[in-house]
């Protein structure tokens, strides 16, 4: 049985141009058969390493924050609490995610498309600009000159160098995205792929388009804010700032969604040889993301009086839920690609043999399945409910909101990125994974930890606990509030979840660092610890549904969503009694 993607899969370009490798810029991967531009490979490695460092910074701050909000410990003083909220937000939501996405964009546009990198020198300029941005911003936060939190709402003012750091990082990221499009153009001109981009690359293209929209919005708001911090601009209107800033803040998380879904399709292909059962529909779903997903930034202005209900309803519904429809399509298409492939491999008994006989020992596979579950059941359901004008009012500015995005960005995106790293270590860094036993447990530990953390935060928010608050007991304050006694239980659960997740991230970083810097070299397919599956064989006959198990799981999901939807409206009715 062949073990190379080139010989078996649809990630394979239809027409590989036989370009002789000038100046030895390519190597042919002896595992996948892909032609890898060595200059691109170095850039992918550099960006991936920077991402891991950013994640380490983010989770260190996160643990300290968890033990501050957990009242029996209440670790940090107020000053350091807000400092680390800023530090955690920037490193987790911007640096970790975008560095990893840049690595993904370079991988998707060169390795998958068998093409060369358009301008490696410019790629390094982008990388060092991003590093400079990371160092400068983090430095000014840690010396106490930027206690403004990630949102840095005006009139809160940070040191000009903080804004400059963010701008430098954004400029670097914009250059990286432009290089991605440059790579796509080269691939198209040299006909290194077939008629259309492979689905995975198409997903990365979606992420890149959303990234350009997002980063351009960032420039619109950060440049005047930087000038304002220098005293060159007199005033930044707070309402206007908030509107434009969230075009960056929320949309940047939609880059994650597109990149994450692309990786889900990629892992289905790598682990079981699965492909979307209807690629045209999957592509349409990505187009719906491009067209409508950035509108959702309006969620953050749902209680702002300056904008009308019409603006809020249109935008928070992602243009009448068309982008939500896209997520629902992917939520069906990804598991059904696994199921369809598994059934074609012969795991046909009942509704769920395809799932029970799935490669659960492969940490990339388990990461992706757990990410799909967490993203859908925790992040997705709460996202739609909290994004509605009516039900949002129960939880607006409570700790339920970060609880929701722990379900999207952390269980969804971060776990997905962790999972694909188990393939990147042997394929890009050419090292064996050290500690495979640990690697098999790590995704489960992370999922349990973040699920506990996220659900606890959501429940705490429903009980009225505020977000970004150093002391929710209001001790010494002129106002007091007695929360429902149940909050003590959920604070403890949150602390436990956060600790478990922190432990899991430490294990993951330990595996990655040990493997990349000290792991044995990969010399060929025989050293590959994770299976790369050939393309699943075509179905012998086709009767009824192609993925009945996924269909049942989808209905379970919809039932859970309906139950939560009903509960939230009931909760709203109980909170505000209307005669």
């Amino acid at each position: 049985m062949s073990n190379t993607i080139q010989e078996t899969g649809d990630l394979q370009p239809a027409a590989v141009t036989a370009v002789a490798a000038p100046e030895q810029i390519f190597r042919t991967c002896d595992i996948t058969g892909f032609k890898v531009d060595l200059r691109s490979e170095k850039l992918i490695r550099a960006n991936a390493v920077a991402a891991v460092v950013s994640l380490l910074l983010a989770v260190t701050a996160a643990l300290l924050l968890v033990f501050t909000r957990y009242q029996p410990v209440h670790l940090l003083n107020a000053e350091w609490y807000y400092r680390l909220v800023t530090f955690h937000g920037l490193n987790a939501l911007i640096f970790w995610i975008i560095f990893f996405e840049v690595a993904g964009l370079y991988f998707g546009s060169t390795v998958i498309l068998n093409t060369r990198f358009s301008s490696p020198k410019t790629g390094w300029v982008a990388f060092w600009l991003m590093i400079a941005g990371l160092v400068i911003s983090n430095y000014y936060i840690l010396i106490g000159k930027a206690d403004v939190m990630l949102t840095s709402y005006t009139p809160l003012k940070a040191h000009p160098m903080y804004y400059l750091g963010v701008i430098l990082f954004a400029v670097g990221a914009i250059i990286a995205v432009v290089l991605f499009f440059g790579n796509l153009m080269i691939a198209r001109r040299e006909r290194t792929y077939g008629d259309s981009l492979p689905l995975v690359a198409y997903g990365f293209m979606t992420a890149a388009i959303i990234a350009l929209i997002t980063l351009a919005t960032g420039a619109i708001i950060y440049i005047p804010t930087f000038l304002w911090s220098l005293g060159l601009v007199e005033n930044i209107d707070p309402a206007m700032y908030k509107l434009i800033w969230w075009g960056l803040g929320h949309s940047s998380q939609q880059i994650n969604v597109a990149a994450m879904v692309s990786i889900w399709y990629m892992v289905s292909f790598l682990t079981v040889g699965g492909t979307s059962i209807n690629e045209k529909v999957s592509r349409t779903a990505f187009v719906l993301y491009i067209l409508f997903i950035c509108l959702a930034s309006a969620h953050h202005l749902l209680t702002d009086p300056g904008v009308s209900s019409a603006w809020k309803v249109w935008n928070t519904s992602y243009a009448m839920y068309l982008a939500v429809l896209a997520s629902m399509i992917h939520a069906f298409a990804v598991p059904s690609s696994f199921e369809s492939a598994q059934r074609r491999w012969g795991y046909n008994k009942g509704l769920f043999e395809w799932l029970s006989k799935a490669p659960w020992g492969n940490p990339a596979f388990s990461s992706i399945i757990l990410a799909v579950i967490g993203f859908g059941f925790i992040g997705g359901t709460t996202g739609v409910i909290f994004g509605m004008e009516q039900t949002n009012i129960i939880v607006h500015n409570t700790i339920a909101i970060p609880g929701h995005f722990k379900g999207t960005v952390v269980i969804g995106t971060t776990l997905t990125f962790m999972g694909i790293t188990y393939y990147l270590i042997p394929l890009i860094f050419r090292r064996k994974i050290v500690g495979m036993g640990w690697a098999k447990w790590q995704p489960w530990l992370f999922f349990i930890g973040i699920a506990l953390l996220s659900i606890s935060m959501i429940v705490l928010g429903q009980l009225g606990v505020p977000r970004r608050h150093w002391d929710s007991t209001f001790s010494g304050g002129p106002f007091t509030y007695n929360f429902n006694p149940a909050v003590d239980f959920f604070w403890t659960l949150m602390m436990l979840g956060g600790s478990i997740a922190f432990l899991s991230v430490c294990i993951w970083i330990g595996i990655v660092v040990t493997s990349v810097f000290f792991g044995p070299r990969v010399n060929g397919p025989e050293d590959m610890q994770l299976k790369i599956s050939p393309l699943a064989p075509p179905a012998k006959s086709h009767k009824g549904f192609e993925a009945p198990g996924t269909l049942v799981l989808t209905f379970i999901f919809l039932l859970v969503f309906l139950a939560l939807f009903f509960l939230n409206w009931k909760w709203l009715a109980a909170t505000w009694y209307v005669k």
Binding site: D195, L212, D237, M240, L243, L301, G306, N315
Partner: protein, 61 residues
């Protein structure tokens, strides 16, 4: 005059032509977002009446 390859002579369906044109998708994505989120939102905020001076003074006192 160059002879076209058979594959090139095939008509590309309109739907796929749009789906594969990433510059067009970038344009559409940016335009929809710019009109519905940014411009509409900025216009609404710009048209808000100014706070009456006496209210402003009372609040800031």
């Amino acid at each position: 005059m160059e002879t076209k390859q058979p594959a090139e002579q095939e008509r590309v369906p309109f739907y796929r032509m749009i789906m594969d044109d990433f510059m067009l998708l970038l344009f559409l994505g940016t335009t929809i977002y710019a009109i519905f989120y940014l411009l509409w939102g900025v216009m609404e905020l710009s048209n808000l009446p100014a706070i009456p001076e006496e209210v402003k003074r009372a609040v800031l006192k």
